[in-house]
Point group: C2
Chain length 513, copies 2
């Protein structure tokens, strides 16, 4: 494929930057084509009837291949080199920085490896859907070993190309600039105080529950009312329904494109809190996407900064706001309107429910206090896997030991709710897990910064005024796209680099204060 030559129509007074201009045009084309993949991918998860799957998968793979070829053309790399010598301003330099980063990563892997990895992951994930409910660890291992081998091969090639350590080279796909040296430091610190905190919070909540037993909401909760309530809440949280939708899928996610964000959730009529808070979580992702800088869309600087930054938005909504007493005040009238008046909908009781801490086997069901334990465990295991210090068959023993250490739970023999519970490993996604807890740390750091700027923040949230939070996030995070590196943006937004003390302080204040 040839890159079209864009005429060097320099604007009046702006020096000619033909290589850079051609790169921008090429990126815009890739962006427009990727749009179709995003929508078709969302449709696949939310609406597509079963017999459409084979053709859809083939169509999406074709687009992936096309975009990969476009991103790895020799001419593109040459233009990146030439553009470096052009008279670029700072924003243009930021674009070039991101383009070079993508180029290095995209060209590091031979097409054959990308294809073999896709096939191995697809086979493993497909079998895992049946093997997980059957608790079939031995069967899973058969398919997982090649996935791991290819991930190690990928890590080695990326490491060679980028100069990063092998695990870091994978993590860098999701969290540019993050290293395991940093993760070791912040997770290592957390490992010291988290099990004690979990115990202490558990004891305190058990004592309170004994003195004043919790009151459960009484169902059923009709799905059409749940849906209407979720949409009302999304509006309160600033979701723009002229630029997005809420639909249903087996696994909730935030898809689509910034101009048209597609949230999904799932409903069950005997419970509403799971889908409600899942929707709040995805609304955080959605607002980030809906508020990315419109004038930069299609350029690298127009993209969300990183996956931990993305998680910091969803967790700012779900955890920082969702566990705030003001959120229960805001939610109570919506629940009464949807399901009638119930004692469980009293704001005080609702807030207790939204901040209930419970050690459990399943990561996605975990509260904000126990969640990091699930992540630390996965990080330690997957890093050792990628570095070749352990093999796939070593996972269960490590899993059992770490679950006991961190959460005091016995998981022996329960692979289904143990190392087989997540889709990440079957799909070969190594290096993603840390982003969840890094995101929780960033979210706490943002709220600390907002409180410094607005000392009456909690009073305002308690009165249902969420605007200060959204305004701050818009100014400091959403509107910045990928204009700055992750580290620089962290510093600009909050005045300091990643600082895990904020998450600890937040959890102590909320759960032991």
């Amino acid at each position: 494929m040839q890159i079209d030559t864009t005429p060097a129509t320099a604007e009046r007074g702006r020096p000619a930057t033909p290589a850079y201009d051609a790169l921008i045009e090429r990126y815009a084309r890739m962006h427009r084509l990727a749009h179709l993949g995003s929508i078709a991918g969302w449709d696949q998860a939310a609406l597509m009837p079963p017999k459409g799957n084979e053709a859809r998968a083939a169509a999406l793979a074709e687009l992936d291949g096309l975009l990969h070829r476009m991103a790895t053309e020799t001419a593109l790399g040459e233009r990146i080199e030439r553009a470096a010598d052009e008279p670029l301003d700072d924003l243009q330099r930021a674009n070039l920085r991101e383009m070079r980063r993508a180029w290095v990563r995209e060209t590091a892997l031979p097409d054959g490896l990308v294809e073999r990895r896709r096939l191995a992951a697809s086979r493993c994930e497909h079998a895992w859907r049946r093997q997980r409910p059957a608790n079939d660890w031995a069967g899973f291992l058969e398919n997982f070993r090649p996935v791991l081998a290819l991930a190690r091969e990928e890590a080695a090639l990326l490491a060679e190309r980028t100069g990063l350590a092998r695990y870091d080279a994978l993590m860098d796909s999701y969290e540019p600039g993050m290293t395991s040296a940093v993760v070791d430091r912040v997770f290592g610190d957390m490992r010291q105080w988290l099990p004690g905190l979990i115990r202490e919070v558990g004891e305190r909540q058990a004592a309170r529950d004994a003195a004043d037993p919790p009151v459960d909401p009484v169902g059923p909760f009709p799905i059409d009312r749940q849906r209407a309530m979720c949409e009302r809440l999304m509006r309160r949280l600033g979701f723009d329904f002229d630029a997005g939708r809420l639909d249903v899928s087996a696994h909730p996610f935030c898809g689509g494109v910034p101009e048209d964000v597609r949230l999904t959730t799932r409903f069950t009529s005997d419970e509403f809190l799971g889908s409600l808070m899942g929707t709040v979580h995805e609304t955080g992702h959605a607002r980030y996407e809906q508020n990315l800088p419109r004038e930069w869309l299609g350029q690298p600087v127009g993209q969300a900064r990183s996956m931990a930054f993305h998680e910091s938005q969803s967790l700012a909504f779900e955890m920082q706001l969702g566990g705030h007493p003001g959120f229960a005040e805001l939610l109570a009238p919506l629940l009464r309107e949807a399901f009638g008046t119930q004692p469980a909908f009293e704001p005080v009781r609702l807030h207790r429910r939204l901040t209930r801490v419970q050690r459990g086997l399943i990561r996605v069901d975990a509260d904000e206090v126990t969640y990091p334990a699930h992540i630390i465990l996965r990080y330690e295991i997957e890093r050792a896997l990628i570095e070749g210090r352990i093999e796939a068959e070593d996972i269960p023993a490590l899993w059992d030991a770490k679950m006991d250490e961190l959460l005091g739970l016995d998981t022996r023999g329960n692979y289904r709710d143990g190392p087989m519970q997540d889709v990440h490993w079957p799909e070969g996604l190594f290096g993603y897990f840390p982003c969840y807890t890094l995101g929780a740390m960033y979210a706490a750091q943002w709220f600390a910064a907002i409180r410094r700027a607005l000392p009456d923040l909690d009073a305002r949230i308690a009165h249902g005024d969420l605007a200060p939070v959204f305004d701050w996030l818009h100014t400091h995070i959403w509107s910045q796209g990928s204009r700055w590196t992750t580290e620089e943006l962290t510093r600009r937004a909050s005045g300091e680099p990643l600082n895990p003390a904020h998450l600890r302080a937040h959890l102590q204040r909320r759960y032991l204060g």
Copy 2:
């Protein structure tokens, strides 16, 4: 873009056909990419929130441009020439025939013209949405003149390239092999007997209505019940909901891909018959797509034969079946279940309603008797426009005269419900209109063939047994894709070339029998 060289891995005993094999691989890739455009286009019409439109339009235009570049690569044309000398079997020759046809048409138009045409049509169509309700013919003309000029330019270039007459060169896009000589003959014949038939049917129905006044269904008709009823009826008509969906859009259509057909309809709670019969119409299109030969999908022979053939399927369902007394028998219990028992739902009354003939201004509301009058009028006008025998400003006078001649209606000054009523001309789609009535003729011809093969057909339909119809259509039309030319397929299916006598006989038997 380079065509990938597919290795000439000749199957055992099959002679090597490297150029042909590379063409097949290239077509499969275009098919997979076009899949994404089909789904994103359906989503745009059925689900997309308003602020998504600009990015979606840009994404779809990017894909169109990409597919056009893939379809016009020099190497593709060279491969078509080389493949002609390879030892191909008949099916492969059929693919090559269709590829050559597409190549000739795709390369006939310079990219600049394609782009100018797209822009002019987009501007005209966009303004037309406001101008039509305002009856603003003068405003419409401003934007329509450039659309017409570009269509003439396109017609001249296609005519030069294909050797066809100019209007025929446009019509050939939708109806390969059809010429205005044939259309003149069959429409000319119809023009002789249609106005008389319309009058005679009108008188007969008026007399019957006077003797036995029609009974109207009593609403409201709740939309969720209409929807459930439409889905039940679609199942009865063989629509496979594991390979498709029913949704809502402003203008009903049949979109998606053969493996995942996306039907749309629209509902209003004060009337149900419009959306019901619209759904039946689209279900005819859908079954054609869902039953195209699966093993040929992605090859030219795997596509539906032509637009008139497609309309012949939708009209076989909506008109041939929908106006059959057996259809009213089948429908009555579904209506009673949805809306309760009503006198209007008696099969005899329902059938009267489904075969009511009424001269009206609007094509899309017309019944099967008056519909061809709307098409003949449009064909005569648009052909003269393309051939340069008249100009855009001559349309209203011709419209008025022909509406008077064919339907006896006065349309003077009513542009909104006259020449501005359809989206085709604002969008620059000239040569499509004949397909509707050619489709009605083919549908009548298919039913005549089915009756010859199955003399008890009407008794079986009257008992709700539609299988013989679907089996015949599957064997003779759906499963044949584009294996044969339109003319050859007509002959193979029905034993004769296009024969308009069947439509006349059908209308006379049903309405005057």
